[in-house]
Structures are given as C-alpha cells and as structure tokens.
Symmetry: C2
Subunit: 217 residues, 2 copies
C-alpha cells in the first residue's frame, strides 16, 4: 500500500459529491424500476441503476486512495441530494424515465465541464463514469413513443422536466452555499469557466435534449 | 443473427426462474440497502444488488437466443418469488444481510446442482452467475460482529433464518406444483438426484452455513 498523498480538498469535495450522487441515483432508479409496465423495461431501468453502483465503487476507491473515508467525503451532500430526490419522486413510468433522461444528461454535462479542471488520473476517472449513451437512448425512445401514442403526454412531461430542473437548481444552490468555496473555485479554475457561465451552458444543452425527444423547456 | 434453435422447455423454464430470481433479488436488495447503518454498508449491499442485474442480463440474453421472450420465460415464477419476498421483508439491517446470506447460499447450491444436468453452454452460464464469495463473506462478517456485540442477536437471527427457509420451501412447493413437470424432470435427469435428495442436500449445506456464522438451524 502506498502512503496516501495529502488530500486536495476541492478534489475530495467533488468526488464526494459524485460518489453520493451515484449511490443515491442507484437507490432511486432501483425503486423507480418497479413502475415499469413490463419486466423487460423494469430490467432496463434496473440495469441503469446497477451501472451507477459500478461507478460509485470506482470513485469511492479513489477517495480512499486520497486518504479520506468515502462516507466523510459524501456527508456534506447527503441532505441536498436526498432533498432533490424526495421532491421529485416519479409517479409513473414515464416520469421515471424522464427523470433518468434529464438527470443523467445534466450530470454528464457537469462532469465533462469539471473534468477539464482536474489533473490525471482524476480527469479520466470522471470521464469514465459518464453514463453510457445507450441508457439515454433507451429513455429517449420511451419518451418519444409515449408522445407519439398520445400528444398530451408531451405537455405533462415538459412540465415534469421543468420541475426536475427547478428542484435540481434549488438544491445545487444549497450545495454551493454549504460548500466551503473549494468546489466553486475548482470549477472557476478551468480557464474561462465561471459558475454562471457553466449554468448557462448546462441549461442550453438541457434545452437541446428536451427538444430531441419532443419536450419543451 | 443465427436462427433460434427449437427451445428446450425445461431449460427455458429453469433460465426463466433464475432470471426472475435475479431481477427480484436486485429489487429487494436495493431496497434493503436503505436499512444500512452507514453509507459504506449501504454501498456494499447496493453492490450485491447490482451484481444480480449483470447476471440477469446474461440469462435473459440466453433465453432470447433460445427464441423465447425473457418476460414469457419468467412469467410462471413471478407470483411465487414475489410472495417469498413480500413475506420476508427485513425490518432492519441484520435481517437484511442475513436474508442475503441465507438466500444467496441456497440459490447457489441449487444452481450448482442444476448445472450438472445441463449441456454447454448453459452449464457454464449457470455456474458463472453464482454469487461472488466476497458478498457472502461481507454478510457473514456483519452477522458475526453483531453476535459478538450482543449474544441475543444470535437467537433473533436464527429464528429469522428459519422463517426465511420456511417461506422459501413453501414457495418452492408452489413453483413445483405450477411447473409442468419439465423442471423437476430436468433436476431428476441428473444421475442420482431426485428432488427430495436435492432438498436434503440443500438443507444440510444451509445448516453448515448457519453454524459458520454462529446461528442455529
């Protein structure tokens, strides 16, 4: 065992956030899978959940190597992430897949932006835990098919997606307020990327994803 | 794509049973993970859940290759397996890890016995989806530590384990009764293994596993 290096607190903060995000996404996707109309779809959402745990393990192992207990690194984010999920519990299958589609998309954009501010091996690690595109494709296909079968679904899911983003932004604000400044400094470290600019970029990409499945932002 | 071969109904029955067992085990372990006293343990049970889904995918793919929809192959087992889990919902963390320990152990013994009755590639497939021993070791360590901290835990968990086995046997009886005889014939095909003998062997191995963690059968 090599001796742990002195932990970079911004890095540990970021990895803690990502790790707890994965752990909770697993938990919620696994529960949401019960909303599936058949076993095939249930298995598909369950597989999306399982992928989160594989990624959790990689991040948690890296946190340990940095000399920090994963539980300690995740602790600052428990409340905000839990609050996000508690306030956005899907009522049916389409809400569940829309939540996965919206949440994974924004998370991946955020991680891609952050990765640029990291040194190796963390840059590659964060890029490695991006969601596989086949999961987004599965969710997108479910949403498109539902809208095709009933146009009114588009309105309902558009409203749902706006609520998801609203809740996510509200909890992100809490995370930023609770943060000791290290995480936002890490984001700003990336040349030209200030937090407001990052938010604008994430929002624009989200709008495009909505349009791609027939939803309005 | 190669044309599907004529499905062997006993084989499809068996794979359907295993596949649905994995899918449901995922679902329940993921839910049970919430009972964990800390995030580290919660992640450990979540990883056990996630492993089930990887195995589910392999079995479901094989069922598809045999020309049967996985949903159709799983359908005969939905009710009995659901009933087992509904009647054995853990109330706390120790009940959850004991359920995983007991259930995985019996399942693996059953699969090992069945595998011998199968031709390749199914024999190897079934052996491949056995649970990784590190999961049983994790659960065993949790049980042993809890008993060491409080001897009364041994009595409570011994009773819980007996209930788990009782419910499992009762639902196994339902499966066998609903079965069109193909599955029991498949088991019997294995030289010298009749169903009652298999049950006795599974019970004996279970008793040994109980003793190994300080529980009584």
């Amino acid at each position: 065992m090599s001796a742990p290096t002195a932990p970079d607190s911004a890095l540990v903060d970021l990895l803690g956030l990502v790790a707890y995000g994965e752990l909770l996404a697993f938990d919620r996707l696994a529960a949401d899978a019960r909303l599936a109309p058949d076993l095939r779809r249930r298995a598909a959402l369950s597989e999306m959940a399982a992928a989160e745990i594989g990624n959790y393990r990689r991040i948690a192992d890296r946190i340990s190597v940095l000399g920090v207990l994963p539980d300690d690194a995740m602790a600052p984010y428990v409340e905000a992430l839990q609050a996000y999920h508690d306030s956005t519990e899907p009522k049916d299958w389409l809400e569940a897949v829309t939540k996965a589609y919206v949440g994974d998309g924004i998370t991946d954009d955020f991680l891609r932006a952050i990765a640029g501010a990291l040194d190796e091996p963390d840059r590659q690690l964060v890029l490695d835990v991006l969601h596989e595109s086949r999961y987004a494709e599965f969710a997108a296909a479910e949403i498109r098919a539902a809208i095709e079968a009933d146009r009114r679904v588009a309105n309902r899911l558009s409203m749902w997606a706006r609520r998801l983003v609203g809740e996510a932004l509200s909890q992100a604000g809490r995370v930023a307020a609770a943060d000791r400044g290290a995480l936002t400094a890490l984001i700003a470290r990336r040349e030209g990327v200030e937090v407001p600019a990052l938010f604008r970029r994430l929002t624009a990409a989200h709008t495009e994803r909505m349009a791609a499945v027939g939803l309005n932002n």
